[in-house]
Symmetry: D2
């Protein structure tokens, strides 16, 4: 069978993760080109992965056109233009989270993809994590009854790049990190957000706040869904210890936990140290398989002409929830949805 | 040394726990009398513990007077009268949580106790749990930096007695169960609540709601402290699995966990079951030692004439937080403190 | 009801643990006297626990005689004489492990106790640990099928006192520490040892070996029971980290674990440390409740005139297993039992 | 760069695992042919993986010769002939464990590979497991002092195929399953076996024993190394619960654990079930990454012309240890090495 040809738009950290997945783990697809505004970065990645082509501007890549799909890993504020232009020339789209800056952008992307019948998948890789999937499966089996309260934690060790500090370009930490948590809540609640309330604080980055007044690095959120279920999430970035993605579902008959800070590899115990278990240092370690599986899924749905498990609509709902949470932080009151 | 003589006011579940602690684990004190409106219950407990006296009305016990201190385990709405009357005749007071129905009641209790110089300790036994204490110690040591976010969970397997279903008599589930969680947040934040927001739902007790319109059995709360720290808590009662009291402190350099659902006894693993660990079925198992230790502390502070670690002021601050959370649930908006 | 009066023979570490249990946790008994060859130690303990009497020689205590039972916590080589003399004057006997130096001594103790109808309980406190008991219960319930292989670990942080270094006075580390492990194997196998093979090494105490040629501080043992079940155990003392008592039962349908190195209190996680859980530092922490429960059981069986759960026969079988293991270490071959 | 071409000898379960690794995860190599005595099996696998060629006899494949290396996954008693013949025509060799039936066979394989300068790697995939590697790294760092005692557990859910029931064709369960455990002991002891003692029982397969008198399905082993370190291992197959590969290293300053029965995915807790964690069902799940990594290593060492981390010598030492353990089971006494 023909390999699916993919162009990568964005040669940064997560871009490289996807390039590695394609090279090492997804033989049914191949990376053929890379695009980055920083042409040197594009060139380096192209060399490292032995790609045919690299470009400075995504439009050049679209003009060249010898590929079937794109993976967008550029800053949030660029997603909409790239996705819409790609859809117009019938390239399938895998778009990193957060999908877009606002609902209007998200709508454009969804409509354009629908109009030209290209696949649009959003990068909520936690939906492909074996632990989260197992939790979802357990909920479906009904072993813990009906879910009532869904909790999610998203914390990472480092600050995102500077463009993400500007809430206008990125929707802030709740979008950059918390998008996953909002998606997890919604995935398990099987309902839409009805009301959201959030507190946020800037604990660690006083210098950033000088430049970006709205900046916060920690936030806590409670939510109510239309079907009456409750949600809680907290995000923090940077946190002092590592990468931490956990969830918990309280149901009528029990409780389910997925994810954890320990990486299950080794425990060392001495008198002075206590029992020390190794932890996840980055999202790369924590979601190693999930990143591969989401891309394998993307390649698969294109080949089989199916709908992806994580659609543009899913991405849009999270954009909306983030917007509501950011508004709640600003006005100090609960915000009702839909916006 | 003379044994400290104690009368127990309230012959219910937690009353019996305290009676057992006094009998089996606190040789420096002795239970001498029990009071319960249900005279048969008082009589039975008196017989079981070989007590000299039992009474139907706490005022009879105060009139008799041959003891040094009381333990109040009656319904919340009775605490204030008993405590105030006891203080007036110079009996030291150990009062179960929640301390009182409202701030005014709490103030009366505190003032009366101060006026007659009797000790007043509130039953926040989690402050005596070795895990929670170890967490507090770790925070003090600074090993995880400055605390930023404190999270607490309080869930129990069964409904409290009917009087507690009436939010006017008990302040509801956030008071009955959540008092511990509010206290834990405040204990670790080392600050007073500034703002509280809560959602609540009645998932499991539709029949109760018919009679008590304000009733809820699950609630989620986010809080901000005056020093800028954040808090999150959720309570649920009844939950389907067991007794669950956990906490987590996110600090600038790391994270601390105390408590857990597994009781650390035994794990059984078979193909059909997976790896099954035993869990805590009730607060009696979970806080067995903490219940003993808080009473030992109470006896000790009286004998050494010191201040208890958990004062009437601590109890009052939680009464206030609960009131704010209940108000938030009713008005659908955040509530600022002090009330 | 009259309190059971107990004399403590041996004012050392474990003696003090038992004295504390009696004082704080077993109101139905009271410590009335203490005996120690080191008269100052006896006097100190008597003062601390407000005891009526203290003696230098256990025979003086027996002559005085105003008590019902004794607790023997002296060095192993003294157990037999004390127990036999006590039985002759009808004092019930709680004897620390190992019960005796050899089978002949153990037989004398058992026979004398039987002859005068006094209770004889051996200090295998692991049989009273809630985790080990839960494991035994799970095995009985049959949830993991028929037990096939029983494994036990016994490790402690410190060296025992010098008399225990001399294998002739103590039967060595397999007796001092490993007695518990042999007993656990036998308890779960529900059969008698058929064949034992052991390796031992002296890794940490080269200086001790100069004086006591047979000394070893680590040993590994495999065993076969008469009913065909297998056993494995390892003991080490001193080990570098803490107190470690764990067991595992492999059954036809599954596996059971009891015990662990983590004390279930608190986990701290930072980037530099990883996830650090607190551990048990000593047998006092690890088996805090079990020490109380075994003594409560002893007091109870005397009062109710029942057989203790851990009899002199149980003690003797472990003495025999230890002797077989020591012989195996010496001759380098497997040793068949009974000896 | 040219892809390394590999032929697979043996189209069974582990053969398919390696074929999948090559297809999905090791782009720098490709499977070109498969051999199986069961020609249909070879054909099926060839079709599934779109291979150019399939053969019934490995000699046909060697005659064809258009490949660089072979992976041997056939029954143990065939390893030597295949490896020797392959080495003679200069094909690199990856050989599943156990390497050979006896020392003589292992020697032939090693010598032939040395003579023709082909790589010879033995399939001890645990050496590539991230947990075991992390444990080895921690030992090297010295954080727990000098290793004294190494323990390993190897248990699987199902019986191996019938040829493996005959101890003469397979060296029994200690070879089939326990080879990994012997290798782990030796890897961490960094010394050669000096003395081995073993007990074995047939608990679950009475019908097998009728045909194969020496058959056992559970075994326990203790070992001493030339450098004085001790080892313990137990193997069981089939066990009732899942796949279980764990290890523990006791060092002078602490203890290290690697591996576990829980797969770290999800925990479900209900009143009736307790806290249930998911477990590993098979070696495929447990060592998913390790199987890929060992093959990636094999491909890498060929391309870079280096020595593999797990050599024929390593394989041979385990063959010797297994032979010693089997002899010990038969004669009922300890066996000294080298044989």
């Amino acid at each position: 069978m023909e390999k699916l040809r993919i162009s990568l738009i964005g040669a940064g950290r997560v871009g490289k993760v996807h390039a590695l997945s394609l090279k090492n783990n997804i033989p049914e697809a191949e990376l053929v080109a890379v695009v980055d505004k920083d042409e040197e970065a594009a060139k380096r990645l192209a060399k490292e992965f032995e790609l045919k082509m690299y470009f400075k501007d995504y439009r050049e890549a679209l003009n060249w056109g010898k590929f079937d799909a794109i993976i967008i890993t550029t800053p949030t504020f660029t997603h909409k233009a790239i996705a819409v232009d790609a859809a117009r020339v019938k390239k399938h789209i895998f778009c990193e989270k957060p999908m877009a800056l606002n609902l209007k952008e998200a709508d454009s992307m969804i409509q354009e993809a629908k109009g030209t019948k290209v696949k649009l998948q959003v990068g909520f890789m936690r939906r492909f994590d074996r632990g989260f999937l197992a939790a979802k499966e357990k909920v479906k089996e009904g072993s813990m009854g009906e879910p009532l309260l869904i909790k999610s934690i998203g914390r990472g060790p480092g600050l995102p790049p500077e463009w993400a500090w500007d809430i206008k370009k990125s929707s802030g930490m709740l979008a950059e990190v918390g998008s996953h948590d909002f998606d997890t809540l919604r995935w398990f609640a099987e309902s839409e957000f009805d009301k959201i309330y959030a507190f946020a604080e800037n604990y660690k980055c006083p210098q950033v706040k000088k430049k970006y007044l709205d900046f916060y690095d920690h936030a806590v959120v409670i939510a109510r869904f239309q079907n009456g279920k409750l949600g809680m999430l907290d995000v923090g970035c940077p946190v002092g210890y590592g990468y931490d993605a956990r969830m918990e579902v309280l149901g009528t008959e029990g409780v389910i936990f997925a994810g954890g800070i320990k990486d299950n590899q080794v425990t060392v115990c001495t008198k002075s140290s206590g029992a020390v278990s190794s932890i996840y240092n980055s999202w790369r370690d924590r979601f190693k398989d999930a990143y591969i599986d989401e891309l394998r899924h993307f390649v698969g749905v294109i080949k089989r002409d199916e709908e992806p498990l994580v659609t543009g609509e899913d991405g849009k709902k999270v954009v909306e929830a983030v917007a509501a949470a950011n508004k709640s932080i600003q006005i100090g009151q609960a915000v009702s949805l839909p916006l």
